[in-house]
Symmetry: C2
Subunit: 348 residues, 2 copies
């Protein structure tokens, strides 16, 4: 099932509007999901719509949150997300943060009372237009054991950063701190496919290639103890420091329908002009990019990529070709549309 990006965005927005979001808020979430699909990160794309709708309908998520500053200093912001969708809360947090960074040079932004925020890259793209260096991280419900442990404690806590460039495309990096994003295991399960060994352990701590068993067990941190430490760091900033939930004290997006998730995020913005004129900085970023792109390649390597470059190439291709939704995903979208009086067949 192939669909044009603009049509997919309109469908998602219409469904979310039908369950109570303002058109503006619905459009923010539509943007985030379709942007993920375009960049090839299908695990964080339209496939998430049904669970988002379910949580909105259950009352666990505030459709149109009042995002407020709970506490602030010159260089820090604590934002209360009012249990809104993470995309809406995060986008507003970045707006407030960019203003502060332009006034005081830089800012650290903690967010509490939020929910799954989609991809970190979405906020990086928003922020770096303002000539800031940007970081986005979030905690998430427990799915990953601490290193040496058996039982999930941390989420797959994503970590993203980006910098603007000059003549080149910006550098945008976005990763899960698990070996792979849990969303990829969810996608595999939906497609009925196995997963590679090394991604996860089952509930008894045994290595597994069965996606369903993996989802009942624990995903593994990337790079062993180093990834465990980075995931822990993200939870310290996003959860412990902000007053949001942390570790197992974050409610499950696929359960706990009677209560808010209380996910926490942490953003960082630095106005590059406080270090050197933005044009000079972007010129130096360009120099680094050019040097890496023209560096000698290893055997069998056709091209050296910058972080985010493969995703950008995919985006260019899918803007042309459209977004191909798997049959399973299409079916769930059709269903969630119908349940809310919207027919996806009208969006072709």
């Amino acid at each position: 099932m192939n669909i044009k990006p603009e049509q997919l965005k309109q469908f998602i927005s219409d469904v979310l509007h039908s369950v109570g979001l303002t058109k503006e808020n619905a459009s923010i979430v539509g943007d985030s999901l379709v942007s993920a699909n375009l960049r090839g990160v299908d695990s964080h794309g339209a496939t998430r719509l049904p669970i988002y709708v379910k949580r909105l309908k259950s009352g666990a998520v505030t459709p149109n949150p009042e995002v407020q500053i709970a506490q602030e200093s010159d260089a820090t912001l604590l934002i209360d997300g009012n249990d809104g969708m993470g995309q809406i809360v995060g986008k507003r947090a970045i707006e407030i943060g960019v203003e502060k960074a332009k006034k005081h040079g830089a800012v650290y932004i903690g967010v509490k009372n939020s929910t799954h925020f989609g991809t970190g890259a979405f906020f990086i793209q928003q922020a770096i237009k303002h000539d800031v260096v940007a970081y986005a991280m979030s905690n998430a419900p427990s799915t990953m054991a601490p290193w040496g442990g058996l039982k999930p404690y941390f989420g797959t806590n994503p970590y993203a950063f980006g910098v603007p460039a000059g003549k080149n495309n910006p550098i945008i990096f976005d990763m899960a701190t698990s070996v792979v994003a849990r969303g990829k295991i969810i996608s595999a399960e939906q497609r009925g496919e196995d997963i590679p060994e090394g991604w996860a352990i089952d509930s008894k701590g045994r290595p597994t290639t069965n996606a369903k068993e993996a989802l009942e067990g624990s995903v593994l941190p990337f790079a062993g103890p180093k990834g465990y430490a980075i995931s822990l760091m993200i939870d310290l900033m996003s959860g412990v420091l902000t007053g949001a939930g942390f570790g197992p004290h974050i409610n499950n997006i696929y359960g706990d329908f009677d209560k808010p998730q209380n996910v926490g995020h942490f953003f960082q913005l630095v106005d590059v002009n406080t270090f050197m004129p933005a044009e000079q900085f972007k010129g130096r970023v360009d120099q680094m990019i050019d040097e890496i792109k023209s560096a000698p390649k290893g055997e069998g390597v056709e091209e050296i990529f910058l972080p985010g470059e493969i995703e950008r190439n995919t985006e260019q291709a899918r803007l042309e070709s459209g977004i191909s939704l798997g049959e399973e995903v299409y079916k769930t979208l059709k269903t969630v549309g119908e349940e809310n009086g919207i027919d996806i067949e009208n969006y072709q």
Copy 2:
């Protein structure tokens, strides 16, 4: 050769004082190196003294730098290290930064015109006493190829962070963004030992277990493309943003004796009180530590460790037992002492 930590520190300080550092500056570097030895990070301990002395004597490093603020905003600092030793420059940068963080809530600190700063953990330990969350990173001379590349571009750019805790010990994480710190390969070469496969490639891009060939080739980033991206991020902050050298534009510590290294560092400090009272924050950190320490363990795992806990255990043990220097390291220390009229035999 076993030596008491205090005696080793005195020896290092005396040697550095003999080549022009004030007693205070010499003592800072002594602290950093012995602290690394105590924590089991021997690659960043006393073994570095000979090269430090050589660079000081060549005039490439300023013995007593005038560390100055080159540029600042409320939330950012650009520090000019005057080509001083990284430990001295970094310690001063943290002092200035803590003051700013206490005034404005938080700070981002870029440092240019600096040199090898030892371990990041040294600065984390200094900073977190002031109830801040701290990050320390640095770029370094090219030893690591970009992912897919053949020729060194990035350094093994270290990344460290830490948070204060309450009744528990603080969490302090410090890693190289290579599979292992290059210092470990240097140590292996000094001991005439092989290295495990997967740590490095030779100058032709072939996997190697020969430490000497590895040092002539390229070390590999941890976690493949993810480690490559994190190393790149560190260089963007430490080098590109600060105006220091970056990528291959940083001079070699083991060569280039006629010019400063122009290493850059990047520190981040957040006063936890701007988010919640420090005692409350530390209580939440304690809760996370307690929950992880008591979590169910995987098969064959005796204990789950927090980042920095193994290093702290080693420190406790070595404070008792003393620091064991390998024969090769002892010999180089004896030589560098003698060349400067100081006999290590007097420090027992």
